[in-house]
């Protein structure tokens, strides 16, 4: 798939995100828009997935992800980008995106396995837990002699959770080198900038000191850069160290008035704001 095609999908995913959050009158558009390019690059090009289709025409989903790459989302509040990407990739009907955060929906506020939505392998939302789960699954892949990789995305505010650092010390100690982690470095969290709320300081130095192979990517919203850094990271797996990609993104990327501040972390656009946002995002596939 070409860069242009991936960018087109990303634009549609961004439309889905703002429409979902608008439709639910709640949700988290900022971080979702910031991580769109990463998720599209992973699911539409870089991850090896089982492409078999079921009777319903959707991708068949197996919880154990045998001989597939597996992605976990730890900062579960950016569920809109996860749901849209999974749906656009073919795991479930895009119509279902319209039920986001509604009663009796599989598309819950935060990702869950409870409603058996295809593509989701763990509940997330209470922060700091995803990397531990990803490490466990990476260990299972090693025990199973399955050579595929495990990816895990966390937020930068999430780095304030203690469990993250428990996991950070475990992975290098046990040489979990089939794991590629990302921190979405957008510098924002609910109460303001991470710098003001609780400064993460030098995450590169911290992870290096813990024994990780750390890669920095300054252009987390440029598809070509994202693809390049993913290729680079994959080449560095299997060498005894887990890989950490510090991915600089812009919260709200793609919608001008949502960028550059923490204000759109967890706020839904009103009708007028939705129109303004959609005017900046051409529909490349069909809206749900």
């Amino acid at each position: 798939m070409s860069i242009q095609e991936l960018e087109n999908i990303a634009t549609q995913v961004r439309r889905d995100i703002v429409r979902m959050v608008h439709g639910a009158s709640s949700g988290h558009p900022g971080g979702s828009l910031g991580c769109t390019d990463l998720l599209v690059a992973l699911y539409f090009q870089q991850m090896k997935l089982n492409n078999r289709k079921g009777r319903d025409g959707q991708l068949s989903f197996k919880m154990n992800g045998e001989n597939e790459d597996i992605f976990f989302l730890s900062n579960g509040h950016i569920s809109p980008v996860f749901y849209s990407t999974l749906s656009r990739r073919g795991y479930f009907s895009t119509e279902e995106l319209g039920t986001f955060r509604q009663i009796n929906s599989r598309v819950q506020g935060h990702p869950t396995t409870h409603e058996h939505l295809p593509g989701i392998r763990i509940a997330s939302g209470s922060l700091g837990q995803g990397m531990s789960v990803a490490i466990g699954t990476a260990l299972a892949k090693k025990l199973n002699k399955d050579e595929r990789l495990v990816y895990i995305l966390m937020g930068d505010g999430e780095q304030q959770e203690g469990q993250v650092w428990e996991a950070a010390q475990f992975a290098p100690h046990h040489e979990v080198d089939n794991l590629i982690a990302f921190i979405d470095l957008n510098g924002q969290q609910i109460d303001g900038s991470t710098k003001n709320v609780m400064d993460n300081r030098d995450l590169k130095a911290k992870y290096k000191a813990f024994g990780w192979d750390v890669i920095e990517e300054s252009q987390g919203n440029d598809m070509e850069s994202v693809i390049k850094v993913l290729r680079k990271a994959k080449r560095r797996t299997g060498k005894g160290k887990p890989i950490m990609i510090l991915l600089n993104t812009e919260m709200g990327a793609g919608v001008d008035f949502m960028m550059g501040s923490h204000k759109w972390h967890g706020v839904a656009p009103n009708d007028e704001q939705l129109e303004t946002a959609l005017a900046q995002l051409d529909s490349t596939l069909e809206d749900y």
Binding site: T113, A140, E166
Partner: protein
Amino acid sequence: MKKYTYTETQDTRSGFGDGMTELGRTNPKVVTLCADLVGSLKTATFIKENPERFFQCGIAEANMMGIAAGLTIGGYIPFPTTFANFGSGRVYDQIRQSIAYSDKNVKIAVSHAGLTLGEDGATHQILEDIAMMRAMPNMTVINPCDYNQTKAATLAVAEHVGPVYLRFGRPKVPIFTDPNQKFEIGKAWHVNEGSDVTIIATGHLVWEAIQAGEVLAEKGISADIVNIHTIKPLDVDAILKSVRKTNCVVTCEEHQMNGGLGDAVAQVLARNYLAPQEYIAVDDSFGESGTPEALMKKYGLSSSDIVEKALKVIQRKQ
């Protein structure tokens, strides 16, 4: 009345360890994790025989629970192990989100539960874990009573699909259950037949209940003794069958009075069949340092306390 005797004492955690040894040899999907307490959890043989199926997590229980959840995704049956204090309250949210809500096949196996942890004192004597774990949807809660039952429970939970909290203890206690028993999750064990008072007991309190039954028999009172090893799902039928016969009940547990086995039984009675109930449990307080025997006595969890409560609850029958 059936007489129970014993020739040997052993800690319930050794029943767990020996169960794990057997699982290591018979079930290639069983793996174990530990947070720096391998000696206490008695898993050394499993680890020696299956080093690739053991993950030392260091003193980091939250991460251990998450890693266990992740291992299930690849088809494994993980037993994360630590003290009950660190495998429940300390990591409640991790268990809730990554294990119970996510419906992961994790067997949380914890030792040193309750007062009988002894000399280390209240910081380590968890007395709230049954309450916490039975409040959690999708969680099975088991508290076996001796070495044999703990070993059988360990084998049984590996076969069961779904999250389990398996709670056992530190001190050596009499071995009085059948070494060849088949452990059925959610099925009570009818320890002794009686008609005057029901005694429902779990964990270390089952032996105390049996002894209390003998003392009561000398006084001409026959106790119907029921062992509830699975606190959730609760064997409601067994409880009601017994209480319908005796019309009063004493519940016995090494746990807080609030939210434990006693409250689970009280809920059954309130909803189905009203009968007076007395509790053998710690009454809303923390423990302290001391020998297990001294603590059980001081906090009212010994067989003589059960006798006293049985006489009292019989008096309350109308």
